[in-house]
């Protein structure tokens, strides 16, 4: 990593970033509408995957129940706009408040545990949201709630809104990842007992990162349900987590760009497969198995080591 960063000069990197930003800003002008909708979808899922990776990549815990937070904010927002005369913006804020509240309630129970216990308990608490919305008739039950906030004509504006919100969130998470706070989190992920001996309050850090990750997931959920115009119990159940999970596995968990690249690739293939056949679960399942056995580190770390080796050889 370090060698790669030093050897490339600042200037070409700046140009690359400029091209990327210009490309993203100009995208709606030449893309057909239905591809644009998929692009918005993938941006939202990237936001989800990056916030999932805050826990998976740095604390080495799988937060299976994150779909609960994803769905909770969305359901709160939709229910408020549907049944009361609340402004959309305020409804989003209240939705986020609910997500934070639930995360604060759940985090002391879940973050005490680690490994498989963490995964299963967070799964249970996430599924709780899915079950409640599934069995409640006012919240649409099995069918879900339909509503329309964004018409097809407004998709371009929504693209810019999503892009700006997602990039602000991702930059914020990048800052968190490169802060001393995250160094402590990484240390906890590597060796808990040693960190405890140094005198860091492990539980406090774990709770903090859990709540931060849940909050960003909630934002992704809000955007997701505005885009699709429907909330359904499935977006709160663990099936929703397969997308960030596979994206993170594919891209590589221990690196910030991993889930971004991985989710983009996974979504593109998944979209093609699901247009061809409704049995996309074969594909996702097989991909998970292949990744776990043959590519446990993911694409990006492998790529980085390759680049480093090449740079070392050159001079």
């Amino acid at each position: 990593m370090e060698g790669f960063r030093k050897s490339t000069k600042k200037f070409p990197q700046l140009i690359l970033w400029f091209i990327l930003v210009a490309f993203l800003l100009l995208l709606p002008t030449f893309l057909p509408l239905y591809i644009l909708i998929h692009t918005i979808d993938v941006i939202i899922l990237i936001l989800f995957a990056v916030s999932f990776n805050l826990l998976y990549g740095y604390m080495k815990e799988i937060a299976f129940g994150h779909a609960g937070f994803f769905g909770l904010g969305a359901y709160t927002m939709v229910a408020l706009t549907k049944y009361t005369e609340v402004n959309l913006f305020i409804a989003m804020l209240i939705g986020m408040l609910f997500v934070l509240l639930y995360a604060v309630l759940v985090s002391p129970l879940v973050t005490r545990l680690s490994g498989i216990f963490f995964a299963l308990c967070s799964l249970a608490f996430g599924e709780f949201i899915a079950i409640i919305v599934w069995s409640s008739r006012t919240l649409g039950g099995d069918v879900g709630l339909h509503f329309s906030l964004v018409t097809l004509q407004e998709m371009k504006i929504f693209y810019y809104i999503t892009l700006s919100i997602a990039s602000i969130c991702i930059i914020a998470m990048y800052k968190i990842v490169n802060s001393p706070f995250n160094l402590a989190i990484r240390a906890i992920g590597d060796n808990v007992s040693r960190v405890e001996c140094i005198g860091i309050k492990v539980l406090r850090y774990r709770m903090a990162i859990f709540i931060i990750s849940a909050a960003f997931t909630g934002i992704a959920g809000l955007l997701y349900c505005i885009l699709h115009g429907i909330v359904h119990p499935r977006i709160a159940s663990w099936e929703m987590v397969t997308s960030p999970l596979v994206g993170t596995l594919l891209g590589g968990a221990e690196i910030f760009s991993g889930p971004i690249i991985g989710t983009a690739i996974y979504y593109t293939i998944y979209w093609q497969v699901s247009e061809m056949t409704s049995y996309w679960e074969y594909f996702t399942g097989a991909l998970i198995i292949i990744l776990v056995i043959f590519l446990p580190k993911g694409i990006m770390p492998t790529f980085h080591t390759l680049v480093e080796q090449k740079l070392k050889k050159e001079p």
């Binding site: 299963l120 709780f128 397969t242 679960e281 074969y282 399942g285």
Partner: protein, 299 residues
Amino acid sequence: MLEDIVIQLLFGIARGSTLFLVAVGLTLIYGMLNVINFAHGVLFMLGGLFSVSLLTVLGDAQPTLWIILLLMAPFFVSIVGVGFKFWLTPVIKGPREIYEVKTLIFTIGIAMIFSALARTMWGANVYSFPKPSLIAGRIDVLGRAIPAYDFLLFGLGLGIGIFLIFLFFKTPTGVLSRAYAFDERIASAMGVDTGRLSLIMFALGSFLAGLGGSLGALVGTVEFLTWKKIILEAFIVAIIGGLGSFRGVLLGAYLIGITESLVIFFFARFGPWISWIAIYTVFVIVLIFRPKGIFGGRF
């Protein structure tokens, strides 16, 4: 009033028996191999679907046929379960903290493939079949009619529980497998055939899950989505009892089953979700006081 509570307790024990049949395999496999098998719910679903297919092949429902059916469908399921064991072998290596999580992800992949496979083979239909005359009737208890099926479940759950207690605490195989669950390295150093034991546990666990599945299909319905509902309850039961603990799963299953049926009886007017609130209340209370389950770490 008192009769009602007694009858609800009976229903709760019958419900707990189904949960026990599913969760015991999950927890046994965790105790041996430190693997949480997310695809365990798939085995439950396959138990139901296999008995649907067997019934169409074998023809009409006769009492003897049902007994064959209830043995054959779980037998096929246990073959699939043993297959899982072999697929898991390449993933189980390295330090335990790493492969635990890795195998969980791996078994999610397996579960998704089998879910799609079930949809391919059986379609997106909801199956239910006629109950055999042997258990279709009702039995009067305290002036109320109770489905004979619940007594079947009650008896089977109790019988299997006693059988497993006998197996684990009295037979050589059981003692060896407890030793294996306690410390794998020392057990294998002492000459315990760990490969054979884990194979037996996988076969036993998936047989019981398949049995639970075909019994569940008898009373209710079965479809390719069944596993998603059952796996969550099985996880909750296993966590409450303590993962890897046999006593724990026995306690957890009946605790959850009885709580559920009593809460439904008293608070039915609030809607079906009230039973889930009760389950989660128990779950949270256990997590607060015993984060690793009631019998966590003890067989």
